[in-house]
């Protein structure tokens, strides 16, 4: 920081000291000059006096002194007399020494005898005086030989003054006198005055300094204050500049971000456009105002591909689509859809379009209606997809289905007719053979009985086959309808008589039938299909058992179920085959199984299916050569199936 006060103090003090010293020196020099002049005037005056009074006495001696050898001169008798005369004249004055030179520079007289005989020709003061001038010199002497002996610490003014006869300026110079005036008191006074001057000056300057100091101090304070203000302003300006820089950077960043966002938006739009183009569907966005006017806000370019009309036909003309492109027969569908959109409801409609080239395409128009809460306008975001291929496939499928349904119906009728047409002659074969065996037409011998029995058994087998064939057809077509009704257990058991009894008899098998007395009666169930189950199980057992017993038993199974159990002493079913035997058309015909390859393979499949539909289950226990037991466990009152 700027240290004004300190600089001021240092410089001013230095300046003041310099001024004081210079002033003192100047004062001293001036006064010394004045002292010199005054003393010189005095010396000149004394010389005048000397020239008038004593010089005539000196002249003869001076004129002869040249002839006297220098070493004898101080002891010349004249010297003493002259010395006495000078001393007398100078006594009581401040003159402390007098020397006289001849015109050759020879010191012919001196109050200090030792100096007599010296040559001062080369002395500048002497030469000046020789030329008629007065030359003076103020010197300080530590010791000085005065008239009255040695003196110390003296300021002495010595003046070379020309000596003329009668001290007339017009007379030639006859010699030079040098007078030493003791000016010590004057110089002492001068020193005292000089000290006073310096002290005074210092005092004044000190006062001045303090006065200035206060002014400077005040100024310094003001400057500091202003400096502080300026600094503060500078700081503020700097802060402002920084703030501006920051704002500028923010603005730059924001611009960069916006640029990036715009770029991203453009990229996104381009992607969106590509996606829209890449899907074959036509995408639209239509706004329906409260007054019912429709405006297309967006139509994907695919509309041109879909219809064959230029894009421009649609862009600014909402009417073009419903009035020209939609098939005339389907326009009512589109009107219904538009009405739904206008109600703010989503709608999906399939209709036909007539392309520019006259081709017909099927489309699905699927729109989502969004109502603007402020304006009440409806914006529909829709997709129009070409479903011609699907429609064609559907049509083909429908035709195929119709054909299949017709075929199925024909098959059912055929089976029903076949069933009826087979059953009637079978009835005749069965009945007449039984009548023959009964002896109505005469007694049979043993062989005839056996043959009759074979005919009957074969007929029963054929009947079982027909029943299973129809049953399987009904299962496959899902047409089985279970009609639950009360029936007596004996009624069910009786079916064995007409289906398996003959074969069992023919094979000399014992066929045991037993109904547990604790079994409730009547039972609930579909007697027709229960008979199918029982016939199949018993027929199988009789068919595959070579000797022994086939027993059929009905009994209660717990409190909620009842069971049909059919067991035989046949060859058994190998464990690895037990899971397969319930599959349709599956027969065990491997040589090791011991099962004969007769039968359709439908029986057990039908049994399983019917049992499941009745809410029951099948259990199978069998070991090879130990016989087989099938158990059908059914609910005592199984759930009613829906009546037709």
């Amino acid at each position: 920081m700027f240290k004004l006060l300190r600089y001021f103090t240092i410089t001013s003090l230095i300046a003041f000291v310099l001024v004081a010293v210079l002033l003192g020196l100047y004062f001293r020099r001036t006064v010394l000059e004045e002292i010199t002049i005054a003393a010189e005037s005095k010396n000149v005056a004394l010389t005048q006096t000397f020239a008038n009074s004593l010089w005539p006495e000196f002249v003869p001696f001076v004129n002869t002194a040249q002839q006297i050898p220098a070493e004898e001169l101080p002891n010349h008798p004249e010297i003493a007399r002259l010395h006495q005369a000078v001393t007398n004249q100078m006594r009581g004055s401040s003159i402390i020494k007098v020397k006289v030179y001849d015109l050759n520079g020879l010191t012919v007289f001196s109050t200090e005898a030792a100096q007599i005989g010296e040559n001062k020709w080369d002395n500048a003061g002497y030469q000046a005086a020789r030329a008629g001038q007065v030359a003076s010199e103020l010197t300080f002497r530590d010791t000085f030989s005065a008239f009255e002996g040695e003196i110390e610490d003296r300021n002495v003014l010595s003046s070379y003054v020309p000596l003329r006869q009668g001290n007339n300026a017009n007379t030639p110079i006859e010699g030079v006198i040098e007078i030493y005036d003791d000016v010590t008191p004057l110089v002492s006074q001068l020193n005292q005055a000089q000290r006073n001057v310096i002290v005074s000056v210092i005092a004044i300057l000190t006062l001045l300094f303090f006065a200035l100091f206060f002014i400077v101090q005040r100024a310094d304070k003001i400057i500091r204050q202003q400096h502080a203000e300026v600094s503060q302003r500078a700081t503020e300006m700097a802060n402002l500049a920084r703030e501006n820089a920051r704002l500028y950077a923010d603005a730059q960043r924001e611009i960069a971000e916006r640029t990036m966002a715009e770029q991203a938006l453009r990229t996104s739009e381009e992607r969106f456009r590509q996606v829209i183009i890449s899907i074959n569907d036509h995408v639209y966005m239509t706004e329906i105002s409260a007054s019912g006017d429709s405006v297309n806000h967006y139509l994907s370019p695919n509309v041109a591909l879909l219809t064959g009309y230029p894009y421009e036909n649609f862009a600014n003309n909402w009417e073009f689509w419903p009035s020209t492109v939609i098939h005339p027969d389907d326009r009512s569908l589109a009107e219904v859809q538009l009405a739904r959109f206008a109600q703010g409801e989503d709608s999906e409609v399939e209709y036909r379009l007539v392309k520019a080239d006259g081709d017909i395409v099927w489309v699905r128009d699927n729109g989502r209606a969004v109502r603007d809460a402020d304006t009440g306008n409806i914006t529909v975001y829709g997709v129009v997809s070409d479903i011609t291929g699907r429609k064609q496939a559907e049509q083909a499928l429908q035709e195929a289905y119709d054909q299949t349904a017709t075929a199925s119906l024909l098959k059912s009728r055929l089976l029903a007719n076949v069933s009826h047409d087979i059953r009637t002659p079978l009835g005749a074969i069965l009945g007449y053979t039984e009548m023959l065996k009964s002896g109505i037409y005469g007694d049979f011998n043993e062989e005839q009985h056996t043959v009759g029995q074979y005919i009957i058994a074969s007929t029963e087998e054929l009947v079982g086959f027909v029943n299973n064939l129809i049953g399987q057809a009904e299962i496959e077509s899902g047409k089985i309808v279970l009609n639950s009704a009360p029936f007596a257990p004996e009624e069910l058991m009786a079916v064995i008589q007409s289906t398996a009894q003959s074969l069992a008899y023919a094979k000399n098998l014992q066929l045991v039938q037993h109904i547990e007395p604790t079994l409730p009666s009547p039972l609930m169930g579909d007697l027709y299909w229960l008979r199918q189950i029982l016939i199949n199980l018993v027929s199988n057992s009789v068919k595959f058992t070579r000797q022994g017993t086939v027993s059929v038993r009905f009994y209660p199974s717990g409190t909620t179920h009842w069971a049909i159990e059919v067991s035989d002493t046949g060859p058994g079913i190998p464990p690895e085959s037990q899971a397969q035997i319930f599959e349709a058309f599956q027969k065990l015909d491997t040589p090791t199984s011991g099962w004969q390859t007769t039968g359709s393979g439908l029986g057990l499949s039908i049994v399983r299916e019917l049992t499941h539909q009745m809410g029951g289950r099948i259990e199978l226990v069998s070991e090879p050569e130990q016989g087989t037991t099938f158990t059908i466990i059914l609910p005592l009152i199984y759930p009613q199936s829906d009546a037709k």
Partner: protein, 130 residues
């Protein structure tokens, strides 16, 4: 087994003559007097005249359907004691008629079985009518 003196009438209503003969023979052996009718209209007329103890009714008949005849029998107070055995080649045809019938037999019908079942349906013999 001695053939009982026939005192109860059984009507065999069946259009196939072979079946008719077998059914009639079985019913005779079960102790019924039998009368055979081959079409529905004739059956309805005859049922208005006689009171059979048993009717063996084929469901698929020319003239009037077996179902119509069964309904007529069940609606006639005079025929409340008449037992009806339905005979059909179409198993499902009889499903809805189970309640109205005494027995349903699916063709082919065993001669022996029919004979035995009909015997059980015959009312007990009444002394004095021998």
């Amino acid at each position: 087994m001695s053939v009982p003196t026939p005192q109860y009438l059984a009507l065999v209503i069946e259009d196939d003559p072979r079946q008719t003969e077998i059914f009639a023979q079985a019913l005779r052996m079960a102790g019924f007097n039998t009368e055979t009718i081959a079409d529905g209209q004739s059956a309805l007329r005859r049922l208005a005249e006689v009171t059979p103890a048993l009717v063996l009714l084929d469901l698929q008949l020319p003239g009037a359907s077996g179902e119509t005849i069964l309904t007529t029998i069940r609606a006639d107070d005079r025929l409340t004691e008449t037992r009806v055995i339905l005979a059909t080649a179409n198993p499902h045809m009889a499903d809805s008629l189970r309640a109205e019938s005494d027995l349903i037999l699916i063709k082919p019908i065993s001669f022996i079985q029919l004979r035995d079942l009909a015997t059980r349906l015959r009312p007990p013999d009444t002394l004095g009518n021998v």
